[in-house]
């Protein structure tokens, strides 16, 4: 009896013997993460279905079957019959670009957030941490103000916002590089730039007349109301180009996020260059979305967290899964926003927090291990 008690007591100390071979081989699949590619595939299929369903939802009474026929017709061509023409144009000219823009914008912001959180080793960071959104908002406000009484073309506002966001990010990154890209320096510079550009936008608003003020404020709400196919193209092209690039560096990002700068260097990772390079990718994704859709907060912070709670912190799976969680979250928010008070459409930037916060809180509470 005494020996067994001693053995029990020693259970916590190192014992090199592994388990029996048979269950070990069985466990291997689970432990090497074979379920994760399956989860990714399932998520992708669910997203495609969600997009088709979301296109079908609305006041015009279009069935998912109509959506499918319209998509097939648009891709493969065919003859358009008279009674289907109206449904076809609603689907292809209004609903489909809007839905795809919502999904693409959410996906881009979410993957940018996952990148920033990993690179800065901080789960509270979002793609807007370096001041992208206030800078873009100022760029847009500036274009609207300068146009004055004339109606300003959408592409001018977009370019102004994009240019300002990229210029400010380049400024922050070059200052941080001079300070060896220390994480605290980056965060503090981001806070300073955010404050500065919020003040600049407020100054423009203070000086603006009624109409201009309304236009500026409306821009900051963030919506996909005026989605066009060219918006969709730009956002999706940037997203599709960025994804293979970030996946290629996902394991190096793992080393930085989980082991820290010094250990990552000793693991063969070029920490400084990788950090700058991937922040540029994240900033580019966020700037493009903000310029086309306005400020849509919350997705960039919460999308990666939802993904992390489901699929784990390994960036090789986290980055693609963030695309799905962010895309679905924004798609859901926009669908709710345009149906709940129909025919009025609530901007997605407002709805997303109403939808996302309860989902997020529920995930935090139902998960066994604490969110870190």
């Amino acid at each position: 009896m005494t020996t067994s008690i001693a053995a029990e007591r020693d259970a916590g100390t190192p014992s090199p013997s592994g388990g029996a071979p048979a269950p070990r081989a069985d466990r291997l699949r689970r432990r090497t993460g074979a379920w994760r590619p399956l989860a990714l595939g399932a998520g992708a299929v669910a997203s495609a279905i969600a997009i088709v369903v979301a296109v079908g939802i609305g006041t015009a009474g279009i069935t998912p079957g109509d959506v499918w026929r319209a998509i097939v017709l648009a891709i493969f061509g065919g003859t358009l019959h008279g009674d289907f023409a109206q449904a076809y144009s609603i689907v292809t000219e209004l609903r489909l670009p809007r839905t795809l823009l919502a999904f693409g914008a959410g996906a881009a912001l979410s993957v940018a957030g996952a990148l920033m959180q990993g690179l800065l080793r901080n789960p509270l960071v979002s793609p807007f941490t370096l001041g992208v959104s206030p800078a873009a908002a100022f760029g847009a406000a500036l274009a609207i103000t300068l146009a004055g009484a004339q109606t300003v073309p959408a592409w001018v506002v977009i370019l102004s916002a994009l240019g300002m966001a990229l210029a400010v990010s380049a400024f922050v990154l070059s200052l941080a590089t001079a300070k060896k890209m220390a994480v605290a320096t980056l965060l503090l510079l981001g806070i300073a730039v955010t404050q500065l550009f919020e003040a600049l936008t407020s100054a423009l608003q203070f000086a603006a007349n009624e109409n201009t003020l309304q236009a500026i404020v409306r821009w900051t709400f963030g919506s996909v109301n005026d989605a066009t196919w060219s918006d969709v193209q730009v956002v999706w092209v940037v997203l599709v180009l960025a994804l293979p690039l970030v996946l290629w560096f996902a394991k190096d990002l793992n080393a930085i996020a989980f082991a820290g700068d010094d250990a990552a260097k000793s693991l063969g990772v070029n920490v400084g260059a990788l950090r700058v390079g991937l922040i540029v990718v994240a900033v580019l994704l966020a700037s493009v979305v903000v310029s086309f859709c306005g400020v849509i907060g919350f997705v960039g912070l919460v999308g990666p967290h939802i993904a992390r709670l489901v699929i784990g912190a390994d960036h090789r799976y986290l980055l693609p899964f963030s695309v799905l969680t962010g895309g679905l979250l924004l798609l859901l928010a926009d669908t709710v926003g345009r149906t709940v008070l129909a025919p009025a459409v609530i901007p997605v930037g407002i709805v997303v927090a109403f939808i996302g916060a309860p989902i997020f809180i529920n995930l935090i509470l139902t998960r066994k291990t604490a969110l870190r």
Binding site: P14, R31, A259, S266, T369
Partner: protein, 260 residues
Amino acid sequence: MSLQIDDVRFSYGKHLVLDGVSLEVAEGTFCALLGPNGSGKSTLTKVVAGVHRPASGRVSFGGVDVLGLGRRSHARLIGYVPQSGEVPFDLTVREAVLLGRTPHFGIGPGRSDWAKVDEAIALLGLGELEDRSLSELSGGQAQRALVARALAQDTRVLLLDEPTSALDLRYQIETLQLVRQITRSHGITALIAIHDLNHAGRFCDQAVLLHRGRIQRAGTPQEAFDEAALAAIYGLDVTVEEREGYVEVRPVVREIEYQI
């Protein structure tokens, strides 16, 4: 195949931390870097680990210029165990050990990578804990996971930066015993920055005393631990005795008399 450090100089800004350090560690040797805070022992491990680039000097292993290697080749030759730090995300022990394979695989780990991970986990007795989150581990267990990560890296040289300073006595001894055992069984050359002279005297084959970025004494612990030299380096009188074949250093503490 010895590790050779030749006239290495390094400074943080204007502050010279390593002032011409030269040292040879034979293959399979467990070598201790000792000295007061700020003596440069941590910095020396970081220079050899490829974390810092020295201003001048050479580091070579088996005649190969280590500093001239590419990052990945360097990381396949020399592993590094930092002081245990906070991980901001939830990660299992197994995923943490897999990080050691970073310089070995392309996009995803292969079968041989997982085999090395399993081997390292078994060697450190982490089998029971491998699916646990790092945040649930005690300090000693987390430190073992870091050592396992460096072993999975499968290197010829292992550098440890004060791996025992956050551990209780039992885990300090366990960690040192383990590193010593690895140097014996795998022929790995280990270099450890450590504060405790007596632990170094008990477990290490070679002891190097650093002070103000220079090597003051080096050799076996018996040779290196000289009463006068230690007193000068630490600014504290010590006695050195041999006990059961190992040297022990004791500070001479005088009671301070306060005059009221």
